[in-house]
């Protein structure tokens, strides 16, 4: 039997704050692309270094350090990062200099910082952490891939004290705005809180960094038990339902035991159809929550849902702004996160209150 994995420290940087959500006064945005709310980065990163850093590096490094501090960990044994689109700002900057200067007089700074593992590497460098360090980039299952690896690491090395896992994605000027061209984004600008009443193709997007310290040792203030992570491929609601049921059975649970299901609904017409089917079938008796109207949809946004679940476990209260139905959930203990982006990328994260 595998040991339980506890989430003992958390950090979330997004377009919302804990206070805004739990006081039912979420931040409103009127553009389909919006930025995260920055903490005071100077508290965590020297001003000199800060100047050269893109949003992803600033958010990732800061969130990593906050999560470790929260768990009272100096240096983790491993750092595993997920990012769907990597360091887009530096990529874009370097790419534009190559294209617009016709490959002449190019400076290397943004190239150096453009690699997908920049954030994971920068955290290691900042902490002088020589442990295992890997970065996953699998579209909307990048962060889930990182958690999957972390579970495996704990199984292989039960003596590990701390594994830092996090997801980060940033908004960049051009590449993010290409979302209008690919129809990932809604063509008409909407207010974020209206996301679920639009009934049109596309979604809204933002950015964020979400880091979690994992340990097999329960602490008094542990947030959650990470019961498991599953990534799968499926095309229809029936296939998804079968995968969820199989997974819960494997985890010695069933859908009736789940107090709240947090769905990755993003307001896109095609995705809505599948989510509607799931809500009418497998999830018909569950308390259903959603969150992308608060922080938009991006590849590592499930990190926000996970961070939110940790907060819900602590407070034992569910803000109304998250609710999609009126099923009661007075003592949230078992929570299932489900997210999808395409037939290739479906994910489940099963969490329990310690």
């Amino acid at each position: 039997m595998d040991k339980n994995i506890f989430i003992t420290g958390i950090a979330g940087i997004s377009a919302q704050t804990e206070e805004a959500i739990f006081s039912e006064k979420p931040y409103k945005y009127s553009k389909n692309i919006f930025s995260a709310l920055s903490p005071d980065f100077k508290e965590y990163i020297p001003a000199m270094a800060l100047r050269r850093m893109s949003t992803a590096i600033k958010m990732g490094l800061t969130a990593g350090k906050i999560a470790l501090k929260d768990a009272d960990v100096q240096i983790p044994d491993a750092i595993i990062t997920g990012t769907g689109e990597g360091c887009k700002q530096d990529t874009e900057k370097f790419l534009e200099s190559v294209l617009l200067q016709n490959e002449e007089l190019i400076t290397p700074t943004s190239f150096i910082q453009s690699t997908h593992n920049t954030v994971g590497g920068q955290i290691a460098l900042n902490l002088k952490c020589t442990g295992y360090n890997v970065t996953y980039t699998q579209e909307s299952t990048s962060l889930e891939s990182a958690f999957f690896d972390a579970q495996l690491l704990f199984r292989e090395q039960p003596k590990l004290k701390s594994v830092l896992v996090g997801g980060v994605d940033e908004v960049s000027k051009k590449i993010t705005s290409f979302g209008y061209l690919t129809k990932f984004l809604k063509q008409k600008e909407i207010e974020n809180l209206d996301l679920f009443s639009q009934h049109s193709p596309g979604t809204i997007t933002s950015e964020g960094a979400f880091f979690f310290n994992l340990s097999t040792k329960n602490q008094d203030n542990s947030y959650a038990i990470l019961k498991g992570v599953k990534i799968f491929k499926a095309e229809t609601a029936e296939e998804i339902t079968a995968e969820i049921n199989n997974y819960l059975e494997k985890k010695e649970s069933k859908i009736e035991n789940i107090d709240a299901v947090i769905l990755g609904r993003n307001g896109d017409l095609d995705q809505d159809k599948i989510y509607d089917e799931l809500q009418n079938m497998i999830f018909s008796k569950n308390c259903i929550l959603a969150y992308k109207h608060l922080v938009g949809d991006f590849n590592t946004v499930t990190g926000f849902a996970l961070w939110l679940t940790c907060k819900i476990f602590k407070k034992q209260e569910i803000p109304n702004i998250l609710r999609l139905n009126s099923v009661d959930c007075n003592h949230p203990k078992n929570v299932l996160l489900y997210n999808m982006s395409s037939k290739n990328n479906h994910s489940l994260i099963l969490l329990q209150k310690p």
């Binding site: 750092i79 769907g84 689109e85 990597g86 370097f94 790419l95 534009e96 190559v98 294209l99 016709n102 490959e103 002449e104 190019i106 400076t107 290397p108 190239f111 150096i112 910082q113 453009s114 690699t115 997908h116 593992n117 920049t118 994971g120 590497g121 920068q122 290691a124 460098l125 902490l127 002088k128 952490c129 020589t130 442990g131 295992y132 360090n133 890997v134 970065t135 996953y136 980039t137 699998q138 579209e139 299952t141 990048s142 891939s145 999957f148 690896d149 495996l152 199984r155 292989e156 051009k174 590449i175 290409f178 061209l181 690919t182 990932f184 990534i231 491929k233 395409s342 290739n344």
Partner: protein, 396 residues
Amino acid sequence: MNKGVAVTGMGIISAIGNGVEANYDALINSSHGLSFPEILKTIHTHLPVGEIKRSNKELEKGLRLSKNHSFTRAALFGIIAAKEAIFTAGLSKEDLSTTGFISGSSVGGMDATEKYYLEYESSKSHRQFIAAQHPGFITNNISDYHGLNAYTTTISTACSSAANAIMLGARLIKAGELDRVIVGGTDCLTKFTLNGFNSLKILSAEHCRPFDDSRNGLNLGEGAAYLVLESEKLAQEKNILARVTGYGNANDAFHQTASSETGEGAFLAMKNAIKIADIAEGDVDYINAHGTATRNNDFSESVALKRFFINQVPDFSSIKAFTGHTLAAAGALEAVYSILSLQKNNIFPNLNFSKSMDETDLIPVTKVRSKKIKHILSNSFGFGGNCTSLIFSKNG
């Protein structure tokens, strides 16, 4: 010794050939694949690269892709290399549907992005490539093409990506999470990476000279390679090409791009790999070094080798002067070469070497050498301090 995980298939495409056999022929004949860029449209036509001399159109031949497909160059390489790996492992369509796929990539579909970036807003013609910029998209292209339906993910740790993908695959098989997985990596030449490394002043205008005292930089390359890994249950009836017996990853935690003077990350990665393989340092018969031929990498790696093997450094060579540095794919290409070394009992040479560096005095193997080889250590290091070592061993 750890029994390790069985390798039952492999495939490769690189500047020295399409397919395992063509690559072997080039290696055994010391025939390098460096040339000046022709397919990659760049102003830096004086910089040698390991370019695969087939246009995307030629690569697409026989793949039966739809007209408006979104397969970029790295995806095409990946499909071709994975196809050979699937063929040698003798996998059926049904087998593939329960096979996982873990691929390493550094810049994904950047080749298409840099071609069309400036026209995306004004023209609809190539918008299917917008999403193809991201490495996960390339991975899905390849897994969709071959119908690989089990666990699929992408690792992007710069130049150690494919080595990390092989490591993850071996770990998943050992843990019983998967019975079969295809692992490796793919990367193509782009203006983005060529100008990036050029702006860092670490590209050589000559053929690269790994571990030579006068080395002055690397040559970029392109290619893809994949291995099929299978559990004991599935592999027992099959021809086992080799075994992945050890793996280790560590971070140098020294600098975003440069390696430390002590080679700490490399040292720890090798230490972890040997420990997992459960062999002694002295059991390593040959080291397939990272050896990019930059001043910094080769010095740092040499220091790490001397520290780790306590001055008894086994035979080693870097094959980067054959293929160029294929970035995220390098660890996979070199896994195929390591397995060939095990199968043929040959060490492939470190080309263009003439004088050892003053600081470390290490001399690589410079001519093809026959040697009974049981265990090979293969190193791959990347930006962000990422260091990975793999150990490949003969079966049984």
